[in-house]
Amino acid sequence: MLHIVVCVKQVPDSREIRIDPKTNTLIRIGVPAIVNFYDLHGLEEALVLREKYGGRITVVCMGPPPAEKALKQCISLGADDAVLVTDRGFAGADTLATSYVLAESIKKIAETWGPVDIVFTGKQTLDGDTGQVGPGIACRLDLEQLTYVQKVVGINMETRRITVHRHLEDGVEVVETKLPVLLTALKELNTVRRASMPGMLRAAQFKPVVWTTQDFPNLDRSKIGLKGSPTIVGRSWVPEQKAANTEMIEGDDVKVKARTLVDKLWQTDLPARFGWDQKAQG
């Protein structure tokens, strides 16, 4: 039996965000709020592991009250329980403050529903896009940390060890570690299922457990929200594309243009650097 916690964040679909060309500010109106899609891959993997090894899945989201919708979606997909951690005091959190509140929430989830074996987060979010919250939670809860997971090979329930494939820039790392562990999910991990009819019916009725600062008697107030966040957003601006001094290559036909361009290339240090000017051997 496994107790798996999945962290999900509700995010504005940043692909839909436009910039107001007059004021250079973000137009957020009408931008849909969605579940960060990497988190759904974390949930899907939790569902697969629950099918294989048995157990339960608790979903947690820190966010404003409308984020309840994200949790309902997770219930419709098959999560057992869901917690919304919400309070004005949590607002303005950077990754350090966010990981603190999520770690405290996971401790409370363990007290409520039993010890936690696996925590899933997404690889990163669509909005903040830092990928720092996962390592932050692992660190605070003293969990093993395996990031960028593209495949869970399996869990040995006797030895309580898990083997995964991590996707790195230059290849795939096969790594094994002990439970409890925090995994960050890539989209290559699985294909997210559709909600089932019973799932949707359950979600329609479902009310997540809501925790506010009041529910955490030992919460260190200096570590939450804006006050607990070392990073602050200073200036923001709309970047201009770097404009080069473009020289257009003219010519009567393709051959002339090609020759003119290659002449230009041969006037640089590139031929010497890459050995183009050495006559081919043999």
Binding site: S14, I17, R18, L26, T95, L96, S99, D127, D129, T130, G131, Q132, G134, P135, G136, C139, E144, Q145, L146, T147, R166, H167, L168, E169, D170, G171, E173, V174, V175, E176, T177, P230, T231, I232, V233, G234, R235, S236, W237, P239, Q241, K242, A244, N245, T246, E247, M248, I249, V254, K255, K257, A258, L261, V262, K264, L265, L270, F274, G275, W276
Partner: protein, 336 residues
């Protein structure tokens, strides 16, 4: 405001695989040196691994004034626990005011753990790094936000060190100079293998994978190619020049070429000596990934295509005629 005067200098983490450094480490050492000069402090490198002494020496040739070398058999493979402990030991002893990591899988994994432990602020995936001079000495770490549509500067006023991960391919390394002088400081670090839960069982290097980030010449194609076949034509030009083939997202999404070839926001940020953009319109999500290339050549039949704004040389015309003509010309020039 706490007194942070004990924290001085810029420290750069040098990521490597089996003793071969990733370019981003040298690029950040270059940028770290620029910041350090403004602050009138040292730029330092952090090298962690096993049998990686030569990497510490190489760091000096790329500009490090001092290199902290943590070398132990347990540090052969990257694993979060021992690497974060080793890094923190160095950070506690050296007290740098700024610590920089590549925004790679490993860099983000490591920096995320360290920043939480210390604790301090960590700015993710920066593409611009500057400092305010003494006395504020604040790191101005700027990063793209909202699908590259905006840039935001993130500051960390109340904590030290100030930490950031930075994208590969954005900053320029200093030229390698074997005559540079620097000091290597060995850091004593003891850890038992039994304390480390994670075991790396295998690493499957992606052999077929082209290494766009490290490539010096890239011939990239976009939707203008119209299908997978014409990428062969690009490959021929790339072969003639000794380069690799890149692509826009439109070409990747159409399934004409694999994602590992994609340049741009959701692909790789590249900084080659020579970049061809062929049948690519020049959307900002593409140009953020290639605009720092030394020499950019754009080929497009639309004279108003935005790609011409970032290109150094532009040719208006049909790529199906121009590309083979260039390949031919290069081959004959090489005298093959």
């Amino acid at each position: 405001m706490p007194d942070w005067s004990a924290y001085r200098g810029v420290l750069v983490y040098i990521e490597h695989r089996e003793g071969i450094a990733k370019k981003v480490g040298w690029q950040l050492l270059g940028q770290g040196k620029r910041l350090a000069d403004k602050l009138e402090v040292e730029v330092m490198a952090l090298v962690i691994g096993h049998n990686v002494g030569q990497l510490a020496e190489e760091a000096i040739t790329y500009g490090a004034d001092r290199v902290f070398l943590v070398d132990a058999p347990e540090l052969k493979d990257y694993r979060t626990y021992p690497y974060s402990r080793a890094s923190m030991k160095v950070i506690h002893e050296v007290k740098p005011e700024i610590v920089l990591f590549g925004a790679t899988a490993t860099g983000r994994d490591l920096a995320g753990a360290i920043a939480t432990h210390l604790p301090t602020g960590l700015t993710a995936d920066t593409t611009e790094l500057d400092v305010e001079p003494h006395p504020s000495r604040l790191l101005q770490a700027s990063r793209p936000a909202f699908s590259e549509k905006m840039m935001a500067t993130i500051l960390c006023k109340q904590y030290r060190p100030q930490m950031a991960t930075a994208r590969a391919g954005v900053f320029e390394a200093l030229p390698k100079d074997p005559s540079r002088k620097g000091e290597i400081v060995q850091i004593d670090f003891q850890i038992q293998e039994s304390e480390i839960a994670a075991k790396v069982l295998d690493f499957i290097q992606d052999q077929s994978k082209i290494n766009l980030e490290e490539a010096e010449i890239i011939v990239a194609g976009g939707r203008g190619l119209g299908g997978p076949e014409p990428f062969k034509m690009l490959q021929e030009l790339a072969d003639a020049l000794g380069g690799v083939v890149g692509a826009s997202r439109a070409a990747v999404d159409a399934g004409w070429i694999k994602h590992e070839h994609q340049v741009g926001q959701t692909g790789y940020t590249v900084r080659p000596k020579l970049y061809f953009a062929i049948g690519i319109s020049g959307a900002v999500q593409h140009t953020v990934g290639m605009q720092n290339s030394d020499l950019i050549i754009a080929i497009n039949r639309d004279p108003d295509a935005p790609i011409f704004k970032v290109a150094h040389y532009g040719i208006v015309g049909d790529l199906f005629q121009i590309v083979p003509a260039i390949t031919e010309e290069v081959r004959s020039r090489k005298g093959a």
